[in-house]
Symmetry: C2
Subunit: 333 residues, 2 copies
């Protein structure tokens, strides 16, 4: 295992300490229980927006804490759900009197623990609503999931709901907005290589030198099929052939598009894939109104990429454009 780490058991804690040291202007890290929180939390009168999940997907979620996006994020161990006490503590820390929104990727542990945390908060009079993201079109049910996995659309839900909360949207409206965004987003991923969880010390799966996995999950869960390595053009088409008919996206739709790197893919390859995506969308009459190209929801050092499309209405686009000031996304500030 080749990693820039000290002891595997300290990876998450030491990485969080680095995040805190690097971005003291934006966020703080609380340990025991561990959560990342906006430097100015709680913001009085604002709904607190909280997400979280296993570590190893950076910048998701801790890198999206800051003005205009998340108020707090709960990092679990690598590829492991955070615990209810982390989520409860984070929710209380961002309670500005207007309730808390939980944004939850659909993995069994995350869903169960966020539910338990919500109940603990609610029992104490803190209003909590939840939005579940389950946008991965690759497979129904998977290694850690009943139903579809939550992947790339999570980034877009966090940005859009974070912007709406910043503008003062109330909890019920925010939950409805988040559900609308989640319902209109679709994603699919693929991998050229595996990744290695530090505590495991060996690759999560084996893959041949001339193979790729189409429909891979962000923890290396099996996808749709193992195939011979293809060109970027063919790969982009395969992913779009699964994504577009699923919603379905139609001629005339405006979308926010994301070409996301899994962690070990050079940026020049992601731009090359975006070039293919742009051509496919143009040919399909789909307008890419906004886009992200880069590493936004990763799987450690896995090589590969995912594509996310969100059918966006004018409200979503305006919230997308609103200022955001986090380590991972930053504009308009």
């Amino acid at each position: 295992m080749k990693k820039l780490i000290n002891r595997p058991e300290d990876v998450v804690k030491e990485s969080l300490a680095g995040l805190a040291a690097a971005h003291a202007d934006l966020l703080r890290v609380h340990f025991d229980p561990a959560y990342v929180v906006r430097a100015d939390a709680p913001v009085t009168g604002k709904v607190g927006v909280v997400s979280g999940g296993g570590s190893g997907h950076e910048p998701l979620h801790g890198g999206y804490v800051g003005r205009g996006m998340l108020d707090a994020a709960c990092p679990g161990e690598v590829f492991t759900s955070p615990t209810p006490d982390q989520m409860e503590a984070a929710s209380r820390a961002v309670d500005g009197g207007a309730g808390v929104l939980h944004i939850v990727k659909n993995y069994t542990g995350d869903v169960m623990n966020f539910e338990m945390a919500a109940e603990l908060c609610q029992a104490d009079g803190l209003a909590v609503e939840s939005v579940m993201v389950n946008d991965d079109v690759a497979v129904e049910d998977s290694l850690y999931t009943a139903g579809r996995r939550g992947v790339g659309t999570t980034v877009l839900v966090e940005k859009i709901c974070g912007a709406a909360a910043e503008k003062g949207m109330d909890l019920a409206s925010l939950a409805a907005l988040g559900k609308r965004v989640a319902a209109n987003g679709r994603s699919m991923g693929m991998a050229l290589t595996s990744c290695t969880v530090p505590a495991a010390g060996k690759p999560t799966f084996d893959i041949g030198e001339d193979e790729m996995e189409i429909g891979i999950g962000i923890h290396g869960e099996p996808g749709r099929e193992r195939k011979p390595l293809a060109t970027a053009r063919e790969i982009a088409s395969m992913m779009m052939d699964a994504i577009v008919p699923d919603l379905p996206f139609r001629r005339g739709d405006a979308v926010i598009a994301m070409v996301n790197g899994m962690g070990g893919t050079p940026l020049m390859e992601l731009y090359l894939v975006y070039h293919e995506l742009e051509r496919i969308c143009r040919d399909s009459g789909i307008t890419i109104a906004r886009r992200l190209v880069g590493d936004y929801i990763t799987s450690l050092e896995m090589a590969g990429c995912s594509i996310t499309l969100l059918r966006a209405d004018d409200e979503m686009l305006a919230l997308w454009d609103a200022p955001v000031m986090t380590p991972g996304l930053r504009w308009g500030c």
Copy 2:
């Protein structure tokens, strides 16, 4: 070779097309000869700031084109110098009447070609000054270099000179500033894995499963020594033991620090290395006044990192904080 590409010979062109499509608000790409240029170039009365070099180091340099940083960037083929005609065309395209500054990493081909381009421009009455960056403390002379290689400090020179040009600094002052920044920056890199140039189709070098290369160049050039894999703490110390005495950085200095990923390293590991860097600086009485943690000057999918320190005076810090609006760096806009 596992890459998200079509034909190896089209990688740079197609990636540039994707960059242009993704950031049409910030930049344009000109082909034949290839250069990336600010969308609003030339800016009348402003010195044009131009850099360039081989591709494969993204976001350097094309990703730093935009307001407050570069006016143009010339991308060569992967790990190959751009040609004088690219540099000349880019210089003319950003000529706003106040001359052009070339920022050149010290590689023999880059230096020679930028010199030739400068002569061609000057012969035609366009004033050109050059700043050379040669900040890599690892080795004197290397595979493609007489003297020290130009690496991480290049990003800082581009940001600081870009900000100064935006504020209206004249060409002579800008060249002096760039030389001062270059003279005060020091870097060193290390690699856990090699990278594969698309046209070569196989890894640039071999490295054992339990080895690392300390002092590696950004094209996989040999460094100082091949050693058994060490912890992040030991690696950060080794690099700082080479960087700090070289300038030397002293107790009381304020620095801009960069922990840079080589392309295949997860962000969580870079934050972990930053945590170590921060501790070393604190123990040495060096104040990290500003910092970058992420992929800023990469080597395709190489796993590894580099550390850059720049001893920064108040003028440099103020220019660092000035607004920048590029695909790769963005704040204050």
